[in-house]
Symmetry: C2
Subunit: 284 residues, 2 copies
């Protein structure tokens, strides 16, 4: 396994693969890898000749009041996991390598960031799109793998790939959960024991919502208000949003038809957690 800290070195590795006609699966991460990331790596490994993984805590997707400085990091553990899973290249740049002096260019999809996480984190997706496009340009993947816990991120990136005429596939991968249902997240490391128990409220609200939709409920307001009630019963939880959007333009919908995303963001103490389920009419 190669570890590249510079763009030049990463490109060298990737070009040597490309010149031999090998396909490349990319797993972009902010490190502190968990079983969710491992599932992306395994999928990338199955579908491609080589796997590149990036570890980069991207400053431009954090607002000044957010957790950039304390975001958990453990590169040695990440690197051992990657090696054991057969990753061929870890790209692990410093911020200045990605954002050199005078940096001025950003990618945006403002219309897709009006709801869900985009509303409470107005510069977040600009940072995500910019860094992911850079990673695509540097690592030239055939396919790139993203977990559906960050569902809004996935749909915005998919739109970017179409809009900017990028010749690669973005592959959505299912949410991986703890045995009790909590969606895996590097931010779960922030939770105290009591917060860890309280955090289950996201999964609880979503499974009840999904059950009601499965039983025939199509009214978003009903679904949202039932979820809000469940969140409100947990003293350590504070709702950021509970929303229902269609997956093309990510606009709020009153009726749950076609492909629909039901999503939550909830503060558990100081820690902001997100979770969701994706509904397709033909699930019925």
């Amino acid at each position: 396994m190669e570890i590249a800290e510079t763009i030049v070195k990463a490109r060298e590795v990737v070009r040597s693969w490309r010149s031999r006609g090998l396909s490349i699966g990319l797993v972009p991460t902010m490190g502190y890898l968990h079983e969710g990331h491992a599932s992306l790596i395994r999928r990338a490994k199955e579908e491609n000749d080589q796997v590149a993984l990036s570890v980069f805590v991207n400053p431009t997707q954090f607002a000044p009041n957010e957790d950039l400085a304390k975001y958990p990091r453990d590169f040695q553990r990440d690197s051992a996991l990657c090696s054991s899973l057969g990753v061929g290249l870890i790209f692990h740049p410093e911020p200045l390598e990605m954002y050199p002096s005078g940096f001025a260019t950003y990618v945006e999809a403002p219309a897709l960031g009006l709801n869900l996480c985009g509303r409470s984190r107005p510069t977040h997706f600009r940072g995500v799109l910019t860094v992911v496009l850079k990673l695509f340009n540097i690592l030239e993947p055939t396919r790139a793998y993203f977990g559906l816990k960050d569902a809004q991120q996935f749909f915005i990136l998919k739109r970017m790939v179409t809009d900017l005429s990028l010749d690669l596939a973005v592959v959505p991968c299912p949410i991986i959960r703890e045995s009790d249902g909590l969606a895996l997240s590097s931010r779960n490391a922030y939770l105290s024991e009591s917060e860890r128990r309280a955090a289950l409220v996201l999964h609880k609200a979503l499974t009840q919502a999904e059950a009601s939709v499965l039983a025939g409920e199509t009214n978003s307001l009903q679904v949202v208000s039932a979820m809000k009630k469940i969140i409100a019963q947990e003293p350590l939880a504070k709702l950021d949003y509970a929303e229902v959007v269609e997956t093309k333009g990510l606009t709020l919908v009153n009726e749950i038809v076609g492909e629909t995303l039901v999503a939550l963001a909830v503060y558990i103490g100081q820690t902001r957690l997100i979770d969701n389920f994706l509904w397709k009419a033909n699930n019925k």
Copy 2:
């Protein structure tokens, strides 16, 4: 010479070149080609195995009050010129091919658009960056050629290539002029006979400014105010801007040192024309 109206077709041609190891020079244009474009094509031809040229009047770089609808077009003449100059591929898409339904993603460099054309055309460079990045992604050039008449555009695109980690070179090419000094522009076709004479005032102001700098003037205010006086003497001319910026961040400078851009935009009747000169300290 191939003519591609779809992204799929263009990519097919370009990939067949790439697979044979050929280098590609790209000349992005809005068509209605003149000797300025021809000079870019010749340079691209000299430095690359194949030349691709795009003809696309890009709607996203025009504001609603601008001249999108009446922008001059003559694809047959363009195509004959390209063929005679040895262009290998013309990419000539319809707007819907470039901006499909639901299009939402844009590239921006807001800090570089605060002065010069960016101030009077606040959405212009967003449109330029977005379409040029798409052209880069579709046509995979080794080098892309841009005329320095659009100097701000060149410096913003150069910044984009660095910032987004694109693996290609943008090549600046000198302004081509009529024998009397008027910079070539497809928009010169809008000028009446008397306006055509009046349009010389841009070149006149700039050559006098350059002469004063060459003679040792380093005060931007002096240079700008001398240019404004010359423009004011022409009854058909109305100044949009006369500014002096450094070429890295495109911020206004008081002193003409290092690499500096002295630029003008002037309305001649209804037609907005631009021109400039680039000053490097080692010109002296």
